[in-house]
């Protein structure tokens, strides 16, 4: 059977999900851990940001939006890249002291990519005061689709299994975000300047996986030394 549709993000999520699940992560005490920090940039000329048409609730959502699926800042800084150090063991995966929050503001998801340990409960906020719905498209986690009308400023969604899940709003079709539920603690998401930082890594050689929803997956190699900050400058581009 030939598919005319390109194998897409969905397939990649599956692959990413399977890869992270393949080897069980082992927790141990990390005493002289090193740090991995650096930036991810877009290589080449960044395409102009895609425009999103706001077709509904313009008084809250605004008139026009740029798509958050590929945000390239000055100097090619690439935001929303999920950086995963493929560590087999290291510090314990602690559930966060405070639930990760995920806001809906001016009909955009804040943040666009949210990473958290599996088993966390996400506090979903509705700052807009209009009807939104949180439709998650997980496979390892059961898909859920909850309405969040005006009178519910906060609802909670628990994510049990590690998986990268797309989140969409069916009321406002352009709204899309990603939840990255992880089974180990060495995961970061790049900020608007493309920067990320991962600490307490046991010294050693690692494969690091970069994933961006439009650019796909890329693997880098890195060597972490005790109590040192290993700086990297990585780049991604359209494949």
């Amino acid at each position: 059977m030939r598919r005319t549709l390109v194998p897409s993000a969905l397939a990649l999520i599956l692959v990413a999900g399977l890869a992270t699940r393949a080897a069980a992560y082992e927790a141990m005490a990390v005493t002289d851990g090193g740090t991995l920090s650096g930036t991810v940039k877009f290589q080449g000329t960044a395409p102009p940001p895609a425009k999103l048409e706001v077709t509904k609730d313009p008084e809250v959502c605004g008139k026009e939006k740029t798509s958050p699926d590929l945000v390239v800042g000055s100097d090619g800084a690439l935001a929303n890249v999920v950086v995963t150090v493929k560590a087999q063991k290291g510090k314990k995966l602690e559930p966060p002291a405070q639930n990760p929050t995920f806001d809906q503001k001016t009909c955009e998801y804040k943040p666009h990519v949210l990473a958290f340990p599996a088993g966390s409960t996400v506090d979903v906020l509705n700052s807009d005061g209009i009807l939104h719905n949180i439709h998650t498209f997980g496979t390892a986690n059961p898909p859920s689709n909850q309405a969040q009308p005006k009178f519910k400023p906060k609802i909670q969604v628990k994510v049990e299994k590690p998986e990268t899940i797309q989140v969409k709003c069916d009321v406002h079709g352009w709204m899309s975000a990603w939840w990255v539920s992880t089974d180990q603690p060495y995961v970061a998401v790049t900020d608007a300047s493309g920067a990320f930082k991962i600490t307490d890594l046991p010294p050693g050689d690692y494969e690091v996986e970069l994933w961006q929803e439009k650019l796909g997956k890329k693997t880098e190699k890195v060597s972490i030394k005790p109590k040192e900050d290993t700086k990297v400058a990585w780049s991604m581009t359209k494949s």
């Binding site: 059977m1 030939r2 598919r3 005319t4 549709l5 897409s8 993000a9 969905l10 077709t55 509904k56 609730d57 209009i130 009807l131 719905n133 949180i134 439709h135 898909p143 859920s144 689709n145 909850q146 309405a147 009308p149 005006k150 009178f151 519910k152 609802i155 069916d170 009321v171 406002h172 079709g173």
Partner: protein, 918 residues
Amino acid sequence: MARRTTPIDDEKRSYGAVWLVTSLLLFVGALWCIADDNLFRRPWKKFQAEFNRLEIQHLKDAIAAEQQRLDADPAYQQAVKTLADARVSASSGEIARQIADLQRELRRAQQQDQSKDLNLRFVKSELEELRFKYDDALHAGRPTEELLKEIEARGQLRAERQQVYTESQQHIEALQNEITQLESAVKTAEDEIAKLTTARDDVQQKLEGVSLGYLPGPKATAPYFGFDWQPKIPRIQQIVLEEFDRNNFDKPVARVDRCMSCHAGINKPGFEDQPNPWKTHPHRELLLTKHPPEKFGCTPCHGGQAPAVNSPETAHGNFVDEHGHLENVEFIERPLLRGEKTTAQCIKCHAGVQNLETADEIGRGERLFEQLGCHGCHLTEGYEDLAKSGGVTSIAPSLRRIGAKVDHGWLIRWITNPHQFRPRTRMPNFMFEEEQAVQIAAFLLSDTKQPSEEWLAAHPAPAAAAGTELAAKGKALVESIGCRGCHAITEDEVAGQLGANKDIAPNLAKVAEKTDARWIYHWLKNPRGYSPVARMPSLRLSDDEARAITAYLVTLGTKRPAPDALETRLTDVANAAAGEKLVRKYGCAGCHDVPGMENESRIGVELSAFGSKTREELFFGDRTDVPETWDDWTYNKLLTPRTYATKWIEQVMPQFDLAEEDIKALRAFLSSRTDSKVPVKYLYRPPGEDRVVAGRRLVARYNCTGCHVVEGRGGDIRRLYQEQPTFAPPMLNGEGEKVQADWLFNFVKAPVPIRPWLQLRMPTFGLADEEANTVVGYFEALDRVQVPFVHLERAALATENVEAGKLLTSKDYFDCFSCHQRGAVKPQGPPEGWAPDLALAHARLGPEWIIKWLRDPQKVMPGTKMPSFFPGGPPDVLGGDDEAQIRALRDYILSLGMPEPSPQQAAHVVTGGPGTSQ
């Protein structure tokens, strides 16, 4: 005196040696008889004894495992310790001394109590005696004063002794209580342990049940001192199915199954990993729970010589030889059914076998038999009426106007070998020579000349149905409106599968080689206008849309040159005459509507009892390499249908090119076509089963499952919507419960768009009333809908519910109309973002279904865009009661689009309407 004939010496001769030898022989013979009768000819005893041992071992292991678990359980350890402590303290130390003292005291008290009791009884007797004397004296006129005094004195004494005895009893009871009190720690501890060991004790009880008991035995090991659980003595295990079979005089006779004499573990869990005959039945939970062996026996599904126990070979009637090939035992008519032939028997009781769990092969086999059109040529009981639709043969496309449709060169190539053009077509290959193909084409074209020309005259070629731009538009339409639910558009694509390598609808990759723009255009516009038995539905295309799709389809494939002088040969009358003979001989009219051959009879052999055919009834031709069994014959026949032809005997069955699994499925189906009938009481006929069977056939005919998931199957088009499942066609699980019967009837007859966000179109199939009814009945039967009709009145909806519901739908609460259309009031944004018109709900949806839907939409239709609003309704409406809010929403939704109640209606408020239901 008679003369002595025997010499005196003979009488004196001793026959001791002869007697000894013969009596020894007799004795040995007797021993042999006993041994033969009990051991040699009873192999089942060995099997059953072995199973009994296995079961005992299994239970012993279970007990040991449970004991191990208990030993590791801290609660159990604690309980054991508590008990031991309690026992120790009850047998030594202060408490033990107290108990001993008390028991001594108790014994003394009990002894004294006896004499106290006796004293009381004496005085009671004396009292009775005195009363009699008094009575006697009174009647005899003697003085009674003395007696009365004595009675009073004795009465006094009795009361005193009664007092003494009661005190003694109380004393004893107090002592006993005291002892129990002191010993209670032990009792409590024992009860505690018993609670923890229930599981172990249950298995222990089972072990006692399946064994003779705890007897000396060879298998015993050290801790048992030569004692062990002993297996029971094997016995024939037999099941009698009264009046199951019919004898040659058609009189009901019982069937006797003794299979479980060897297969002793078949209905016992825990022996799944054992080899046969000790193995647990596969899917025991499902199959044997629904068909308990004591009621259904074994052979109704498995076949075999039910009562035979002489050897596995005679009981089974066949065996697998050292080469792994199945051999039949001679003279046995009903050998064991193996593999897919076992599940094939499901169809004998289950009419709706096509979606039956664990009956995949037979379901597939029946579907293939129906949809490949085998019954077009082969008369088969139960399938006689499927070949025609409204009296017109409708398995394959109608050939009534073939002249208006196809390219002549293509027609020759197609008739010669259809699989060359379309490898996955269901049309079989008759392996005609080109000459024969030309003859058949000549006949068909001359036979259909007049209706073809009339059709062409009424359907002129469309203007400007070509061009790259238009074709691009057409391609976009083909990809979006749903054509690909049934049709593949590239050669290696698979849209809907009939079998492993058969398509449901034609692959359109080379359609332009076959036909032209004129036919495509009019066919698209109105398929029934060309053929009244067309399966292809109308997609209600506008002229422009049909032109665009035509422009696209004519780019798929190119015309190829026809054979030399084809037109001359096609118009040759002799060719047409020869063609007619071929068409009759090969039974084309079995599947196709051919003018003038409407009443041709089926050309194939009847298959109603094909499964009962014996080896002698099967003709193997020159195939000496095919093992002479029904299975092998049938397999090879389906693989290469003309394989048994010889120099003298011709065969006409065409080549279907079936995949291995489809051949096996069809063979399973054929094996179920036997002349034996199952008694009515064994048939599974739940209400609505017939409607389900009819519905499935209709669903298969029109390939509803190309787009929709029905009964958990199908939804082929979803392959194109994996990323955006919300844009895929709705799944029809629970449709019977969801929609109202009359709405569904009208909808399938004349669909209207319901989901504004879908580009796909529900086609108009042009269903006859009976067919639409079949659809409605099918969905109702699937959901076991008892009352399909819904009567709603505006006045029956409670005003406070409607008002509360209206409030809940408002912007401050659920804001339903952010997405849902409400009659003429449309939501913001483009239609892709809209949700169904709620003003249609009162005519379309089942009131109870709306409640279910609002409670949890994802549960009803996984993946739906509709989010869950409950639990967690607003606290300030209807007291924050979710269920009350759901009912209010439902009532408000139903009120939309319903006319306001007139005063007369309001006076006739119907009670029990949806507004008051719980």
